[in-house]
């Protein structure tokens, strides 16, 4: 999954205060650090030009509150998503965040939020930026601060949580989050429509995305020259709307089926957002770009999974030798949609611009934000867009 950072030490503070103290010491020495949860996405971003010591957040691993009646929870950053889901699941609830590896023993809330990772449930419930209602953070000078709160609705103060979500730890450490929960669906069912024609798949996806139905997930898949649109329904009786959706896709010329035992379909969607050997490119596109994206994937012999209604896709390029040109051809075919490299073998990462070109004016502002939050410049230096 790409290069590991040079790690000369590894520390695991047991309290926010201890972590703050470690950071202010590191600031004093000008020593670079990076924050590590379950270490499932350590290769993401640009390799830092400086040696970084790892500060593990796994010492902060308590579920502080589960307020079932309020549909909220307050959780330390080092808690695994799987542990939280088990706890709230017992009350018929879930955190509607289902990134790849989220059901494993490693991926932590802090790491998922810091990298902005998400899964198919995003169609209906949004991502970490939408589900986190409060956050505590540690800054490089040792400041421990909170923003938001633990109620769903709250506009007091600046939304520091959104700033830290997807910031790859470059502004400081996420210590804990308050999250909004949702009820688990009593039933689910998925309509699958298959075709080898990118235009037909796009038409079917757009039809469902604009239909007056309530979908839990609306995904896309493409591999080995053929693809599928996957529409998942939840609720009291999910099978009927799934059959209706399949009916509509059938009329559009897709080959359809309905699955009421659909967990594996969605496990596969999540899994295909990651790759051990390939190069994964996340495309921040738009819905009406689906056919074009699939045609690009076909010519690159790439695999695609994506959130059809959101325009977000993960393209896996299999050949390391061709990956750098593959990334560039995706960028030019899909411009101006940003294409960011996530997983990639070391030799690929060395030859691509991981983040792609950034708007110069907003990059100036981004640097100013970084300088205010991490004036010592020790938090994951160089891993973020624009060399931040």
């Amino acid at each position: 999954m790409g290069p590991q950072p040079t790690v000369d030490t590894r520390q695991e503070p047991a309290s926010p205060e201890a972590l703050g103290a470690l950071l202010s010491q590191a600031s004093g020495r000008g020593a670079g650090v990076r924050f590590v949860g379950g270490a499932t996405k350590l290769g993401w971003g640009t390799p830092s030009p400086r040696p970084l010591s790892a500060i593990s957040l796994r010492g902060l691993n308590t579920i502080r509150e589960h307020n079932a009646g309020d549909l909220t929870a307050v959780v330390d950053a080092g808690v695994t998503l799987a542990k939280l889901q088990a706890e709230v699941g017992a009350a018929g609830q879930m955190l509607a965040l289902d990134p790849p590896l989220g059901d494993g023993e490693r991926a932590t809330l802090g790491g998922i939020v810091a990298t902005g990772d998400s899964g198919p449930l995003r169609h209906r419930y949004g991502s970490g930026r939408d589900l986190v209602v409060g956050m505590t953070v540690a800054l490089s000078d040792g400041t421990l601060a909170k923003s938001g709160g633990k109620v769903i609705k709250n506009v007091a103060g600046y939304d520091i949580a959104k700033l830290f979500t997807g910031a790859y730890g470059t502004l400081g450490a996420i210590l804990g989050v308050s999250v909004r929960l949702h009820p688990l669906s009593p039933t689910t069912a998925t309509a699958v429509g298959r075709s080898a024609d990118p235009a037909l798949l796009e038409a079917a996806a757009l039809g469902l995305s604009h239909a007056r139905v309530e979908l839990q997930s609306l995904d896309l898949r493409w591999e080995h020259g053929a693809g599928a649109v996957l529409a998942r329904f939840g609720g009291q009786s999910a099978a009927q709307p799934a059959r209706d959706a399949a009916g509509v896709m059938g009329e559009q010329g897709l080959e359809t089926e309905v699955s009421e035992d659909d967990a594996e379909i969605w496990d596969a969607q999540r899994a295909a957002q990651r790759s051990e050997e390939g190069t994964v490119v996340r495309v921040s596109g738009v819905q009406a770009q689906i056919a074009e994206l699939l045609r690009s994937a076909r010519s690159l012999d790439a695999r695609v999974v994506g959130r059809a209604g959101l325009g977000l896709s993960w393209v896996t390029l299999h050949s390391a030798a061709d990956a750098p040109t593959g990334v560039e051809s995706l960028r030019s075919a899909l411009a101006p949609s940003p294409c960011v490299v996530l997983d990639a073998p070391e030799e690929v990462r060395a030859h691509v611009d991981v983040w792609g070109a950034a708007d110069p004016a907003s990059l100036v502002l981004t640097r100013r934000v970084k300088e205010r939050f991490d004036p010592a410049g020790i938090c994951s230096p160089g891993v973020f867009t624009g060399g931040i």
Binding site: D70, K146, V155, A156, G157, P183, R212, A361, V369, R372
Partner: protein
């Protein structure tokens, strides 16, 4: 910071034209307050730019002159967020009301900040809609919604403004224009769109806003049920949530609010009911029907005297008009009122409402409650008579105690109206010094000179140090006027 001299006013005239720069006292008075009339300040100049480019030139001129500015949309805000800086520049965005792009295929609409909230739903309807729906949606502007991260009755299910803004063009307080986000999600870099939404005009002026719209639900069912008390109605809300039902909206009015609203709309609500509970379900028809019957049953079982189900769109509209009229109708109960916007964890509703009732008794004042029951956002309206000696002060004190009760219950000082000038004194109840100093870092990154809507959000004025670099004393600091973060 200085006041605008004749040079700045002249420059603004050359940018926007004479008729769009106001300096006469009688013209300026129109802009001295926003929707919260308790607070007023007279700006030195009001300027009405006609394009994003003119906004940029206006801001650049203010920055060059070192004059603070405040952006204003429709002026319907309820926290004093658009109250001018005395003698400063007020940038009224009411001429920026063009819908720039309707990209229905990609479910995006791009608008100028002066476009009204309702206009977005109108331009994509009836197949699609824009979910955040503040009660003022007919007049309030998208720019103001972005500044305040506005919510509305349907945000329990659908979320807030921040969940629907994907891109922004922002004129920074030094006059630079930045494009943040876009039509796509997860664009590389910090989520500066997320940081900007809800920043109450302190980080710059949005001149173009890209919004996500969604398909309209296939089916909508609405009821209003009447109960003896808010605690009975509250128990039904809890039962609905515990059943795993995510209602489109759950709204409650207490007896005072029912009486006020009934006077305004004549909806035929029983004047002696202790609580009216509006529940709306939306979604696919089969799901909605099954769940709606269940909810009607829960209301009946929970002690409802009567459950009135909207039979058609006209009856549904009347239920909503009556709910949304509650604020404005409060004039029928008392000459003046303080509106609060506190949030509590929903499960603490009965306890906090009892506390409010007790406090109101102690202060011998009436407090009406109209609130978003699904997400615990209370709107206690502290009624008083401004003409009576000492009553405004008593009302203000009571309002402060209500806010404290909500924060103590684990809630927030504001759910959707914003901090503005009205609630900044309560900020230390929620946030410590390190939290506030961290907020200030964000503000300083966007506005190191402190010119954009100064005096709002933060409880005490703060300055931005130079970063990075050694400490240097600011002239205002030396004079003891402001303190450093």
């Amino acid at each position: 910071m200085s006041a605008p001299g004749p040079d700045l006013a002249g420059e603004l005239r050359s940018i926007c034209g004479d008729e769009y720069v106001l300096t006469h006292r009688h013209d300026l008075l129109t802009y001295e307050s926003d929707g919260l009339l308790q607070y007023a300040a007279l700006p030195g100049v009001v300027v009405l730019p006609g394009s994003g480019e003119e906004v940029q030139r206006v801001v650049r001129a203010c920055h060059r002159a070192g004059v603070p500015f405040v952006a204003r949309g429709a002026g319907s805000g309820l926290s004093g967020g658009a109250m001018p800086v005395e003698g400063g520049v007020l940038i009224a965005l009411s001429r920026l009301r063009r819908i720039l792009d309707v990209d229905l295929d990609n479910q995006r609409v791009t608008v100028e900040p002066g476009v009204t909230n309702i206009a977005v739903s109108e331009v994509v309807g009836p197949s699609h809609f824009y979910p955040p729906d503040p009660s003022s949606q007919i007049v309030c502007s998208i720019g103001g919604n972005v500044a305040e991260n506005s919510g509305g009755a349907h945000c329990f299910k659908y979320g807030f403004t921040t969940n629907y803004v994907t891109g922004l063009d922002v004129v920074l307080p030094d006059g630079e224009l930045v494009h943040l986000g876009g039509k796509g999600l997860d664009t590389p870099g910090y989520d500066l769109v997320g940081a900007f939404v809800g920043s109450e005009g302190t980080l710059g002026v949005a001149t173009s806003i890209t919004l996500r719209v969604v398909p309209s639900p296939e089916s909508v069912r609405t009821l209003v049920a009447f109960f003896d008390s808010t605690s009975e109605a509250g128990a039904v809300v809890s039962a609905v949530v515990a059943e795993g039902i995510v209602a489109g909206a759950m709204e409650m009015m207490d007896n005072l609010s029912i009486r006020a609203a009934e006077g305004a709309t004549g909806a035929g609500y029983p004047q002696d009911a202790g609580a009216a509970l509006v529940i709306e379900l939306d979604g696919s028809e089969s799901e909605c029907e099954a769940r709606f019957d269940q909810v009607v049953g829960m209301c009946e079982k929970g002690g409802a005297w009567k459950v009135r189900v909207a039979a058609d769109e006209a009856e549904r509209a009347l239920i909503w008009r009556t709910r949304k009229a509650a604020f404005a109708a409060m004039g029928r109960i008392a000459p003046n009122y303080y509106v609060q916007d506190s949030v509590i964890p929903r499960t603490k509703m009965a306890t906090v409402l009892a506390q409010i009732e007790e406090l109101a008794g102690e202060y011998d004042l009436q407090v009406a409650n109209v609130f978003h029951a699904g997400d615990g956002n209370l709107h206690p309206l502290v009624c008083y008579d401004g003409a009576k000696e000492g009553e405004p002060e008593r009302a203000e004190e009571l309002a402060g105690l209500i806010v404290k009760a909500c924060v103590d219950a684990g809630g927030s000082i504001t759910g959707e109206h914003g901090v503005g000038v009205d609630k900044k004194r309560y900020m230390p109840q929620m946030f410590g010094e390190e939290d506030l100093a961290t907020f200030q870092r964000l503000r300083c990154a966007f506005d190191p000179a402190g010119l954009a809507n100064p005096g709002k959000v933060m409880p005490t004025p703060r300055l931005c140090g130079e970063v990075p670099g050694p400490y240097r004393e600011h002239p205002l600091e030396a004079a003891g006027i402001a303190e450093r973060m």
